[in-house]
C-alpha cells in the first residue's frame, strides 16, 4: 500500500485538479490613506498572494513577511488607497492559482488605535452598557426583600429563564460567527471548548466557595452568578468592540438603550439568592463590578485586538458559565433535588417563562 501511495497512486485522492485554497481575513484596518489587511492561510497548501483588487481594480501593495504563506502562515498587506469613511469596499486577493478570495466591508471606519481618548471612550461604553445596568438591577434588592415569600420562588425562576435565554442567545451568536468564519468546524469546536471549560470551571469554583457544604447558597451563589454573568459580559464587550472595528455596525443610541435594559435584568439575576439573608452595600457593589466590569475589558479587547478564534472561545465560555449557573440555581431551589424539580410547579414555571419573555422583549431592542 505504501508503495502504491509513493508511486502516485494517491492521485485518486486529489479528485479535482483545482487547488484547495482557504484564506482568512483576520482584520481589516482603515488607516489614513491606507488599507491594511491581516490575512492567514487556512488551507492545506502554500498560498501565493499574486494580486490584490479593491472594488475590482488591481492595486499596488506591500506585503510582509512574504508573498508565499505556508500552512497557517500570516501576512500583513498594505494598500495605498484613499478610502472614504462610511462607504463599502470589496477587497479581493487573487492567488497564484488565479482563485479569488474576497471580503467585504460594509462601512469603512477608521481603525481605532489605542489612544488615551479612545481607551477612555470604550471604557465608558463598557461602564454604561455593563456596570451601570447591573447596578440598577441590584437596586431592586429592597423591593425584592419586601415582597412576599412566595414571589421569591417566582423571582428565582424568572432569573433562571433570563439566564437560559442569555445562554442560548450567546450560543446562537457564536454559531453565527463560526458560520461566517472560514473553517466552520473549528469554530464550533472552539465554542464547545469554551463552554465545557466554563461549565467545569464554575462547578469547581462553586465547590471551592461552598467549602464542601454541598451546594452554594446565599452570597456564594450570588458570587457564582456574578462570575458567570461577568464572563458572559466579557463576550458581549468583545462583540461590541469587534463590531466597531470591522465596520459592521453603527452603534446607535437605540442599540445602547437595548443593551442597557438587557443588562439590568442581569443585575436581577445576581440578586435572587440574596433575597433571604444579609448583604452589605460593599458586597453588593463588588458583585456589581464582577458582573458588569468585564464588559470594559471585553470592549477593549474587541476593539484593539480582535480575533475570531478568541471571540468564539469567549462566547463559548460565556454560554457555558451561564448554563452552569442556571443549574446551580435550580439545584439550590430544589434543595437537593434535580434541576427540573425546581421548575415543576406553577409559580416557578410561570416565573421561568416570564424571564424568557422579558429577555426576548429586551433582545428585540438590541436586535442586530
Amino acid at each position: 500500500m505504501v508503495v502504491w501511495f509513493a508511486n502516485g497512486g494517491s492521485r485518486l485522492l486529489a479528485l479535482t485538479p483545482a487547488p484547495i485554497e482557504k484564506l482568512a481575513f483576520e482584520r481589516i484596518e482603515f488607516r489614513p490613506q491606507e488599507i491594511v489587511l491581516h490575512v492567514r492561510n487556512e488551507g492545506p497548501e502554500t498560498f501565493h498572494v499574486a494580486q490584490i483588487l479593491i472594488n475590482d481594480a488591481i492595486w499596488d501593495f506591500s506585503i510582509a513577511p512574504d508573498r508565499s504563506l505556508g500552512r497557517f502562515g500570516a501576512a500583513t498587506i498594505s494598500l495605498p488607497y484613499d478610502w472614504i469613511e462610511g462607504e463599502p469596499y470589496a477587497v479581493t486577493v487573487l492567488s497564484g492559482n488565479g482563485l479569488r478570495h474576497e471580503t467585504t466591508v460594509d462601512i469603512a471606519m477608521p481603525a481605532p488605535s489605542p489612544s488615551g481618548r479612545l481607551l477612555t471612550a470604550f471604557a465608558l461604553l463598557g461602564v454604561y452598557v455593563g456596570v451601570v445596568p447591573v447596578f440598577l438591577g441590584l437596586l431592586w434588592l429592597p423591593a425584592l426583600r419586601a415582597a412576599p415569600r412566595a414571589w421569591v420562588e417566582f423571582w428565582l425562576a424568572l432569573t433562571m429563564g433570563l439566564l437560559v435565554f442569555l445562554g442560548i442567545d450567546t450560543l446562537k451568536e457564536a454559531l453565527e460567527i463560526a458560520g461566517r468564519a472560514p473553517s466552520f468546524v473549528n469554530g464550533v469546536l472552539l465554542t464547545a471548548l469554551g463552554a465545557a471549560a466554563a461549565f467545569l470551571g464554575i462547578t469547581a469554583a462553586g465547590r471551592a466557595l461552598s467549602r464542601g457544604e454541598g451546594s452554594a447558597t446565599g452570597m456564594s451563589l450570588a458570587l457564582l452568578i456574578a462570575i458567570g454573568i461577568g464572563l458572559h459580559n466579557l463576550g458581549e464587550g468583545l462583540a461590541i468592540g469587534a463590531a466597531y472595528t470591522l465596520g459592521e455596525v453603527a452603534l446607535g443610541s437605540f442599540l445602547i438603550i437595548g443593551f442597557t435594559v438587557h443588562n439590568t435584568t442581569e443585575g436581577l439575576a445576581i440578586l435572587s439568592p440574596l433575597v433571604e439573608g444579609r448583604a452589605s452595600l460593599r458586597q453588593l457593589a463588588l458583585l456589581g463590578l464582577i458582573g458588569g466590569g468585564p464588559t470594559i475589558l471585553g470592549t477593549w479587547a474587541g476593539a484593539f485586538t480582535y480575533s475570531t478564534p478568541l471571540s468564539l472561545l469567549f462566547l463559548g465560555i460565556g454560554a457555558g458559565a451561564i448554563f452552569q449557573v442556571v443549574r446551580i440555581l435550580a439545584r439550590a431551589q430544589a434543595k437537593g433535588g434535580s434541576a427540573l424539580d425546581a421548575l415543576g410547579h406553577g409559580r416557578a414555571a410561570a416565573g421561568f417563562i416570564a424571564g424568557f419573555l422579558l429577555m426576548y422583549a429586551t433582545s428585540l431592542l438590541v436586535a442586530g
Binding site: 499596488d60 501593495f61 506591500s62 506585503i63 510582509a64 513577511p65 512574504d66 508573498r67 498594505s78 495605498p80
Partner: protein
C-alpha cells in the same frame, strides 16, 4: 548571608552593567547606506528598478526630482511608514532614513503618477 548582602548586591549590579554594556555595544547603529533615486521622465532611475535590501539594514534615501520640465513628484514607501511627502518641484530633494524590516516586498511609488514606482524586496538572501 545577610551580612554579605551588600557585597552580593554590588556584584550583581556590576555584572548586569557589564552585560548591558556589551549588548549595547553590539547594537551600535551602523552608518546608513545611501541610495539615490532620481525621478525623471515619470520614472525612478529610468527603469523603476526592484531594490533588494537585507533585514535590519539602514538605508538613507536621497530622492530628487530631476525632470527637465515642470513636473511635480513625491515619494512614498507603502508599509514602511514613509508617507507621501510634500510635492517636490524640479530640482528639489527629499531625504529619509529607513530601517528595513525583517522581510517582505514593499511598493515604492510617486503618489501623483500612476505606474511610477517599483518594488523593494527585503530578504535574508
Amino acid at each position: 548571608m545577610l551580612k554579605r548582602l551588600p557585597v552580593l548586591f554590588a556584584v550583581a549590579v556590576l555584572v548586569a552593567g557589564a552585560a548591558l554594556a556589551l549588548a549595547l555595544r553590539g547594537r551600535a547603529p551602523a552608518e546608513p547606506r545611501i541610495v539615490r533615486m532620481s525621478m525623471r521622465e515619470y520614472a525612478f532611475n529610468q527603469t523603476n528598478p526592484t531594490f533588494r535590501f537585507k533585514p535590519g539594514e539602514r538605508i538613507h534615501f536621497i530622492v530628487t526630482n530631476d525632470e527637465s520640465t515642470n513636473v511635480l513628484h513625491n515619494f512614498r514607501i507603502v508599509g514602511m511608514n514613509v508617507d507621501c511627502g510634500p510635492v517636490m518641484k524640479p530640482g528639489e530633494t527629499r531625504e529619509v532614513t529607513v530601517t528595513m524590516p525583517k522581510s517582505g516586498e514593499f511598493a515604492y511609488t510617486c503618489c501623483t503618477h500612476p505606474g511610477m514606482g517599483g518594488t523593494m524586496v527585503v530578504a535574508k538572501k
